[in-house]
């Protein structure tokens, strides 16, 4: 039987950077094939090559029996490609997006309806809503519908679940397995281990080369240093001071009738690592914006590092650090210039900045990259650097909004070591994440559902209370009770 994907000796370089080097593998028809590897390993380059968007320097690639160089047209009729982000038009409605993609492939929504029915029916009632107003999980469903509307035989998914909550991720994979039953070949990359395990075979790509292809169990065992780093022993946190750094009571943020944050109350102690979990659209980012002084609460009170979030937000900004899920550093400045800028904004003196910068770069082993543009760094480095910059002025609290989205397990572990170190210095860490293994690292967790906090406690307490084996199950158990899927 002919293979769905047949790659032989493909190489690709950009300038001096060798993105792919002599990559060969094949994927059988109807297989679910995983592609894993650290950032900058060449995964996206490989996807783009197979989708005929890039020409390989050397080697050949066949998709569904057609050559990616000479038979572009045939391949484009037969593949669906879902890039990690931004594959939808945010200001078109759900239905308009779908129609547009259908038209692109010379078909209609009606003709392709059967192949997308199972997925599209879940979001069809929001068909008049703009894609930009959908939650992360629903965007993924729509993007998948758009990629499937022309009934492709091969589906390429480049990190489809980055920034998506665990429940939505599970739903997406359920759909993918359903598609496999229809005979569609699926090739997907993902940084999540539970998703890796759902693949039949996975290829581990590192520095442009394939290090191994096998079943997920074998690969994860073989490269366990990277994918399954030993957990961090939570440092003994008995002597936490009892002083509250964040105190929130009955906080509400309403946009018209819609209560994005609906009466939440909690407090966080100094030096604590507080995990703020919730599904996409549960209200986490809105709550965080109120705590950091970007948004005014509709009602309720809150104090951060001793200042009122309603009136003294400019004081709060002096004493907090913030790292958003979008890149918070200036890409066109160098590493040292970014540090210098943010330190200067917080009123540090030049001499002090210089000493601290050298020490920080040494600690991060970044000294030789001091004058590199941030744009040229791999994602994981950028995130480590962004975190270090956000605590450079020794704030009382640091707010991290999905700091590790799209990063491989080994880099995430290094990131958490930095978090532990900051917490050890007495900096309170307030973090949101979609990785449930990271949730286990937190001292205390709250889980938001539909704008309310539905559970709060240490990871162990929560597991016991809900009788679940791990945080992933706790989260799924709680988030499934959500009624508000509209946002």
């Amino acid at each position: 039987m002919m293979n769905a994907i047949e790659v032989k000796g493909v190489s690709k370089h950009y300038g001096k950077v060798q993105a792919l080097q002599d990559v060969s593998f094949s994927v059988g028809k109807g297989e679910v094939f995983g592609l894993i590897g650290p950032d900058g390993a060449g995964k996206t380059t490989l996807f783009r090559t197979l989708c005929t968007l890039l020409l390989p320097d050397k080697g050949t690639a066949l998709v569904d029996g057609f050559d990616t160089v000479r038979q572009m047209k045939e391949i484009r009729q037969r593949v669906g490609y879902m890039p990690g982000r931004f594959s939808l038009y945010q200001d078109l409605t759900v239905e308009e997006n779908l129609k547009f993609f259908a038209t692109l492939f010379g078909t209609t929504v009606e003709a392709g309806y059967d192949s997308i029915k199972a997925i599209y029916s879940q979001i069809e009632r929001f068909k008049d809503r703009k894609a930009g107003a959908l939650s992360g999980g629903m965007k993924q469903k729509l993007a998948l519908s758009c990629a499937l509307v022309h009934q492709p035989s091969v589906l390429f998914l480049d990190e489809p679940t980055t920034g998506v909550d665990p429940v939505s991720r599970k739903e997406l994979w359920k759909m993918l397995l359903m598609l496999r039953e229809q005979g569609i070949t699926i090739m997907a990359s993902t940084p999540y281990l539970d998703e890796v395990r759902r693949c039949e075979r996975v290829a581990f790509l590192d520095q442009g080369q394939i290090r191994g292809i096998d079943t997920p169990e074998v690969i994860l065992e073989q490269f366990k240093d990277i994918f399954n780093p030993p957990g961090i022993e939570a440092t003994v946190t008995q002597n936490k001071e009892q002083e509250n750094v964040i105190e929130v009571e009955h906080l509400v943020k309403a946009f018209g009738d819609f209560h994005a944050v609906d009466d939440i109350s909690f407090s966080v102690k100094r030096g604590e690592i507080f995990g703020f979990l919730g599904a996409n659209g549960a209200g986490k980012t809105t709550a965080m914006h109120m705590l950091t002084g970007l948004n005014q609460p509709t009602s309720g009170t809150g104090r951060v590092v001793g200042y009122d979030i309603r009136t003294e937000y400019e004081q709060i900004k002096r004493h907090i650090g913030y790292m958003s899920q979008r890149f918070s550093l200036y890409e066109d400045l160098t590493v040292a210039e970014n540090i210098w800028l943010f330190a200067g904004i917080y009123g540090m003196k030049d001499a002090e900045i210089k000493v601290k910068t050298d020490r920080l770069l040494e600690q991060l082993k970044f000294t030789e990259h001091k004058d590199d543009l941030v744009a040229s760094l791999p994602l994981g480095w950028k995130q480590k650097l962004a975190f270090s910059v956000s605590i450079f002025h020794e704030p009382g609290v640091v707010f991290l909004d999905e700091p590790t989205g799209g990063v491989d397990p080994a880099t995430r572990r290094q990131f958490w070591e930095l978090i532990y170190e900051a917490a050890g210095r007495g900096i309170t860490v307030f973090v949101t994440t979609h990785y449930m293994d990271e949730a286990e690292y937190c001292d205390r967790i709250s889980i938001m559902v539909d704008g309310k906090i539905s559970a709060m406690g240490t990871p162990n307490e929560l597991k016991q209370r809900f009788g679940q084996p791990d945080m992933d199950h706790v989260f799924t158990y709680l988030a499934r009770q959500a009624t508000r899927s509209s946002d």
Partner: protein
């Protein structure tokens, strides 16, 4: 103090940009070396067809006069008026002069011969001015006494004696420089930060509104000052044109115009979420402001309702004032009215700009 760090950041980013530094140096050169030659409303090279039905010495004389004029290109004699008209239709000629059969005879008899001038007025200025020049030449021959009367009237052209169009256009070009450098660039810069998401990071820091806004404006103001200085130097080096009035007034006026355009840009960037929207809205206002300002056309010939808008059009005050200073050598007293108007409009817009920038919603 944080201002220092923010401004340095802006300059670093401008320098890193592949295109901006070249633009900053290329801009004054293009504006000063190319535009004054192009933005010229003198009518020259009008193509004339002559249909000479007389073929006398007198009519030959007239044709020679036309040939000798620097404003006309003589396109030869045509057999008939119809033939000449088809040439106009094809765009090969602009004006036709028809000399009647008894031209020289009538001239000698002392009767006034009737000549016909037909001009293609699709390009109105060229048509009307071209035919006016032509009738001057004709009048001079047909009625020497009439042109003698004309020479009795002495027209004194004040300030710009040679009606040098370059002298007239250079101040207007300075206005365009200010508009682009202090209006467009900061706006696009801020919306760019919005799109990249870095503005959120700045909004959670203790940077004050004022520092943020000033850090965005000061670099472009300095660049605009540099370009103006370079342009003035080039105007002097290439055309020998210098300001008749005090140079500090030119800088003062430019800075006041910069205040207005920067504020306009900030307001637009505060209400725009995408580059596309910001550019389009900015263009809309800029085109309206320019066309209603008297930069290219005299404002007095606008209809009344349009003329009323010039009272709130800062470009109108700027153009008026800078031409007064640059060409006439006016001092502060001569332009105080415009300076205060510019200042008023600028402060109003600046207040609005700062109000509409919100770090906290």
């Amino acid at each position: 103090m944080t201002l220092k760090y923010l401004i340095r950041k802006e300059f670093l980013q401008i320098r890193r940009n592949a295109f901006l530094p070249r633009l900053i140096f290329g801009f004054p050169i293009v504006i000063m070396c190319v535009m004054p030659w192009v933005m010229n409303m003198e009518v020259k090279n009008v193509v004339v067809d002559v249909v000479d039905n007389d073929r006398s010495v007198a009519s030959q004389q007239l044709v020679h006069n036309i040939e000798a004029s620097q404003y006309f290109i003589f396109n030869g004699q045509k057999p008939t008026y119809q033939y000449a008209l088809t040439e106009i239709e094809k765009g090969q000629a602009d004006v036709v002069l028809v000399i009647p059969p008894n031209y020289s005879h009538d001239l000698v008899e002392g009767r006034k011969p009737q000549l016909l001038i037909a001009a293609n007025a699709v390009n109105g200025t060229k048509g009307s001015i071209g035919s006016a020049y032509l009738s001057q030449i004709v009048t001079a021959q047909v009625m020497p006494q009439a042109s003698a009367i004309q020479s009795q009237v002495s027209t004194l052209l004040l300030y710009n004696k040679h009606q040098n169009y370059k002298l007239f256009m250079i101040p207007a070009l300075l206005a365009i420089v200010m508009m682009l450098m202090t209006g467009f660039l900061p706006t696009l810069n801020i919306v760019g930060e919005k799109e990249a998401g870095t503005i959120e990071q700045i909004n959670v820091t203790p940077v004050s509104k004022w520092s943020f806004i000033l850090a965005k404006l000061i670099p472009y103001w300095l660049i605009a000052l540099f370009i103006i200085t370079a342009s003035l130097l080039l105007a002097w080096a290439i055309y020998g044109l210098t300001s008749a009035g005090p140079i500090w007034l030119i800088y003062l006026l430019s800075m006041l115009l910069a205040l207005f355009f920067s504020s306009l840009g900030l307001i637009i960037s505060n209400y725009s979420d995408s580059m596309q929207q910001a550019i389009f809205v900015m263009w809309f206002f800029v085109v309206c402001i320019m066309l209603l300002s008297g930069l290219f056309t005299p404002t007095r010939s606008m209809p009344d309702w349009a003329y009323l808008t010039t009272y709130v059009n800062p470009m109108h005050y700027f153009i008026d004032a800078i031409r007064t200073v640059f060409i006439r050598g006016g001092h502060f007293a001569a332009i105080s009215h415009q300076v205060f108007a510019l200042l008023g409009i600028g402060l109003f817009m600046a207040f609005w700009a700062v109000q509409s920038y919100k770090k906290n919603h």
